[in-house]
Symmetry: C2
DNA sequence: CTGAAAGCGCTTACAG
DNA sequence: CTGAAAGCGCTTACAG
């Protein structure tokens, strides 16, 4: 029975239903002004033939982008996994397709993806690689592409943005450590070229100052948001003449490095040093030590970003909106809350 | 200086370079027969205007799909994260875009995504939701869409496939437990509607029989590849009059449920019961207990799947190829290898 | 080596 | 309410 490998087109449907292609198109797009009987005939023809409108043609003609690009550093980073899931679920609801792009925080790769997405006419959700990516993104937007920023601020580019309150999140963590009575609270900071790196450090400072503590620059280690950086800085901190009694790490990869160093040094948390991380790890409950962490609402970031993008596609000239979501502290063992509680 | 919001088209380039659109197109596609001087003029015009060819138009006309759909159960499952990364990296090399789709193992959702991808003319890489999804997929292929299966076999649909040797992987794990001297080795099996579920169970059987053991059906618990199933079956197994001294779990989610049950029961691994899981967890080294696991080469599965897809697009009528990759056992603490070693 | 022209599969003013 | 026709931005035989 089968023979043709040619896909079925709107023309085939029109022929079978005995109407024009225009009418089929109107039925497809549920245009109100189609006579009920014609509508029925067309529907039947569509079903009988198993017709699927060609999206490429539709996009070209209607100039409507139902494609959405998600540019993130790395899908292997748990935060971005959740963001991606949120984006995908929300996009699916609105019948949009998500194109996934990993930059590895490499500006050239980001540029390449932006080019592709631009020529795809796709809306773009991006966690930019550097604070000074604004210029590249502006060019893309000037070409008529809607852009939503997530996770990171840009120096000189204003657009719809979904952020997390990093200052508050970091302060939450550090205040918790202060309240537990730790005296020498260190931080392994993240890249200062990215706003989360700067803001989390700022939160650390604010929380200490608010508690009447002084900032000891010796206790601020400069990490790089990667595991190796976390590992090295943890070792450095613990080999100080007067090492910290608590450490706040700036993201999940840094936390992993920190945990590896902990093990290599033969130390235990919270007994030898208390640990709190920014970013929750998916299996934190099963880790030793179970890591106390500041959790971002990552799935929600993804959802909100899609919603902003959709609004922007509707109203290209609306003023730029920034949504700031609140992180929360999840207390587990590594901070020593349980231990301290007992000894009171 | 800026004013137009109209995107730049091939026509604009042709005008500026003083050639026809055909010539611009030829330069774009590095067609050999273009005079060097024209080629240069066109290149200059392209650069000067910052022209990006419209991919939608190109796709429509050339009928070439540079879009690739990846249909997986859940991007939050670590195995599929790695698969996705492999797919994305390999696709990027070949300048293809990856559209990501999560089905949550829901056949209706899979169907919806297949429809979209079909109307997108995209090649598809899919981990199907059920063994009997063959019919739905056949229809898609008959519409001219290239399909590569990953992770799971289909009952009645032959196509390019990338699999892992589940039988061997499971046998590897169970043989390891046998060699460590465990006597009552249980398994929390996975969904028997999916080939990995059946094959991993088969590997368990084979390894036991090869060791001269009998199969005790009491020790085969029926899980569902989800955390809750792992949790419940673990509790059930441990409450047997004569509980197992070792348990093999059928995937990463099952392992997590198992670990949660372990904790709730106040037991320790490997002291109270030894554990080995199929699927490696990303932070297994930091977990308590550190889980011994059979690791799939997930990133490689993704890469190979893309390569099969590309070959298929080149030669639509080539015979179907199945690639089987080997998993490997990563020994950590939960199996008790270190403990047993010492006591010898 | 190059251009004029047709056409990929749709949508949408424009008439009627 | 419906159809004929133009056109979205490209590519590719077909002539020359």
């Amino acid at each position: 029975m089968e023979e043709s490998s040619k896909p079925i087109t709107i023309q085939d449907v029109a022929l079978r239903a005995g109407v024009s292609r225009a009418t089929v198109s109107r039925v497809l797009n549920s245009h109100p002004s189609v006579a009920p009987d014609l509508r029925l005939r067309v529907q039947e023809a569509i079903n009988a033939l198993g017709y699927q409108p060609n999206r490429t043609a539709r996009r070209l003609r209607a100039n409507s982008s139902d494609v959405l690009g998600l540019i993130i550093p790395d899908i292997q980073n748990p935060v971005f996994v959740s963001v991606a899931r949120g984006v995908e679920d929300e996009a699916y609801k609105h019948q949009m397709n998500v194109v996934l792009c990993n930059t590895d925080d490499n500006a050239a790769k980001q540029q390449a993806y932006l080019r592709i997405l631009q020529s795809e006419q796709a809306g773009v959700i991006v966690a930019p690689t550097h604070s000074y990516d604004g210029e590249a993104l502006r060019k893309v937007r000037d070409a008529g592409i809607a852009i939503v920023l997530i996770d990171r601020r840009l120096d000189d580019f204003e657009t719809d943005t979904v952020l997390v309150d990093n200052v508050r999140g970091a302060a939450l963590a550090v205040r918790h450590l202060v309240e537990l009575g730790y005296q020498r609270i260190a931080m392994i900071a993240g890249l200062q070229t990215l706003s989360p790196g700067r803001e989390r450090l700022e939160g650390y400072r604010q929380a200490l100052l608010a508690a009447g503590r002084e900032i000891d620059s010796e206790l601020i280690a400069q990490g790089d948001f990667r595991e190796q950086g976390g590992y090295e800085q943890m070792r450095r901190l613990m080999s100080l003449p007067n090492p910290p009694d608590a450490i706040f790490s700036s993201n999940s990869l840094t936390s992993l490095g920190m945990l590896r160093a902990l093990r290599d040094l033969g130390l235990r948390a919270p007994q030898d040093v208390a640990l709190v991380g920014f970013d929750d790890l998916p299996y934190a409950d099963y880790m030793c030590p179970a890591l106390t962490a500041v959790a971002q609402p990552a799935y929600e970031i993804g959802r909100q970003a899609v919603q902003l993008l959709l609004r922007r596609l509707q109203e290209p000239d609306a003023p730029a909106t920034t949504i700031t979501l609140q992180p929360r502290l999840i207390v587990r063992q590594s901070c020593g809350a349980a231990l301290r509680q007992q000894s009171k």
